[in-house]
Symmetry: C2
């Protein structure tokens, strides 16, 4: 059997720093005998700098050929003034759409040792373990028509189209129910069915899919209420499934509940479980180049890659355990340190995790 091919896209600002630590984990696993190999490419601002486009052909080719992709973080002030079509986020949207990465898995997990870093009370988040499933290749992100026009009376108007087809909804719903089966068997589908036609269809299709999963409990919640309930009583949720724009908002909100956004990985999967894996946090321009960034979310993204694309849940568990270990040992990068706690750098954190592995 040939090696599994991983394409590594470090991205911008702290991207290369955190990626260097994730590569140490890959090296360890390869040295242990795992049949993996990797190459590097550009996405986002780095790709624009190198090749004039945030998702250049070279990356497209490599991404299509790869079995899995590991992404650092893209974007930052250096690229804010670029024309819209070549801004870093276009690269991100481009690769998602190009590879059909429709299922975005975003766990929101509390590390009880770090509850102090949350703005929520300890008892509200202790033990929190939510999985948000965000549809990633449809909705108002890609719906047509979209644009600008001038009305008869001379005013500018902007417009976008929210849109879902039944098959698009069905496939993300199935991912949600399958995931729930391996967890607490509860799916909460979030929509705005009392206002939107798209949401009406969404809800109908989800209800239909649910018939194939009689062992999983399905509830529905309006998106405004979901935004409230995530703050009020986040532990009521197991799996949340929702569309692209609502998922964008709710998954970011959820990731902040634990106060440890530097620790949360994510996966974006296609229909064959080929996936792109990346930390939830951004490129952190303010601390770039200083060796202070937290590599944990990127390393946990490696774990998700082994679990979902390589079907090696055992390795994912080892990586999760190693991370928990170093946290229990009191290792802290600046973002997760409480006042007075000793702070270590990106490299020390990476080395500590590799040692724990």
């Amino acid at each position: 059997m040939s090696n599994k091919k991983i394409l590594i896209l470090p991205g911008d600002y702290i991207g290369p720093e955190i990626m260097a630590e994730a590569v140490k984990v890959l090296e360890l696993l390869r040295d242990e005998g795992e049949a993996i190999e990797w190459s590097f490419g550009h996405l986002g601002g780095a790709a624009y700098d190198a090749e004039g486009h945030p998702y250049p052909e070279s990356t497209q080719k490599a991404a299509r050929a790869a079995d899995a992709i590991l992404l650092g973080a893209v974007g930052g002030p250096k690229y804010d003034e670029l024309p819209r079509e070549v801004r870093p986020e276009r690269g991100l949207l481009g690769i998602r759409k190009d590879l059909g990465l429709f299922a975005n898995l975003r766990p929101a997990l509390a590390f009880d040792e770090l509850a102090g870093a949350s703005s929520l009370k300890r008892e509200v988040i202790e033990g929190l373990d939510i999985l948000i499933l965000r549809e990633l290749t449809g909705d108002i992100y890609f719906g047509q028509p979209r644009g600008r026009r001038t009305t008869a009376d001379g005013h500018a108007e902007g417009f976008d189209t929210m849109h879902y087809s039944a098959p698009e909804i069905e496939r993300i719903a199935r991912v949600a129910f399958e995931a729930a089966r391996k967890r607490s068997k509860r799916v909460c589908s979030v929509d705005k069915e009392n206002v939107l036609e798209t949401s009406r269809l969404w809800r109908e299709v989800v209800i239909q899919v649910a018939r194939d999963y009689p062992d999983v409990e399905l509830t529905h919640m309006y998106v405004d209420n979901a935004a409230m309930q995530l703050v009020r009583r986040p532990k009521q949720f197991d799996v949340i499934v929702t569309g692209n724009i609502f998922g964008d908002i709710l998954s970011d909100e959820a990731s902040m509940l634990c106060g440890s956004i530097g620790l949360l990985p994510s996966a974006s999967l296609d229909v064959h479980n080929k996936g792109m894996y990346e930390p939830i946090h951004g490129s952190a321009p303010d601390i770039a180049g200083q060796g202070r960034a937290n590599p944990i979310a990127t390393i946990l993204s490696v774990g998700m890659m082994f679990k979902y694309t390589f079907d090696r849940g055992d390795i994912a568990e080892r990586i999760d355990a190693a991370v928990k270990q170093v946290i229990r040992d009191g290792k802290r990068t600046g973002d997760i340190a409480a006042a007075g706690e000793a702070v270590i750098g990106t490299r020390e954190m990476g080395d500590a995790i590799v040692a724990a592995l």
Copy 2:
């Protein structure tokens, strides 16, 4: 001068109970000599029961003739199975659009005595005072086309149109800047400019309007980041201005930060400051008919009515002060009582506030 005319729409479930207490406040003010009068009408489920439509002609006429409207809460399980066109929320959307109530003001205010009821840490919310300005008559709520169709290959599709015109954006932006002038002089405009064409226009127009308010600081934030920042560090905000759907989500999230959703009023204004005033909370079917609902948000809505429509900020301040007084005195309805605290009913709370006035 003739009396100011208030149309009272108690609505469904706890609606009539909380409204009865607000009426006591109106009675007191009238007895003191304020030139106000009121009449009652139906909206939502109650209107459907009485007249077969959630926003019937009788209410339309009365609402157009009134100077201000006081609304309880609409909706509930009794009406969930009704055809979509006559569900209670259609009444709500109908009256907003019909009266041109484009500016929805939703304060999120911490009552420091009640910080215990919040899921957030005391220091995160103590002193919190945000004003969320949500555009209420445009966006994907009303954009055309919307509906359902079948694709060439036989699949169902649902779609909706997000839409804003420059004048719609300009008028809500002006309300935001004017409001900020009377507060801490900071406006944060929330959009998804990196993805949506509608948001691009939104941002351009807001920047243009800002030129007329050089004394007010303008910042921009993506909606996903705003959903995070509201949890992380809510006190960074003064005035937030955003579109209808983002505002729906963020204002509900914000109202939950203080854990006192039973205390938050709201106003929806037209271009002449005619307004509809209502508590932020829903119709609470679970406690309806038991005299347990908290009337404070409805009474504070009366205060907002005097401030914004009748230009009597002095009366609003009196009402606010009376509410603070009873809270300081330890009066608690069930929703805001900590474990072990004595609980009073809807009527006792109303009477206590009237007494404090």
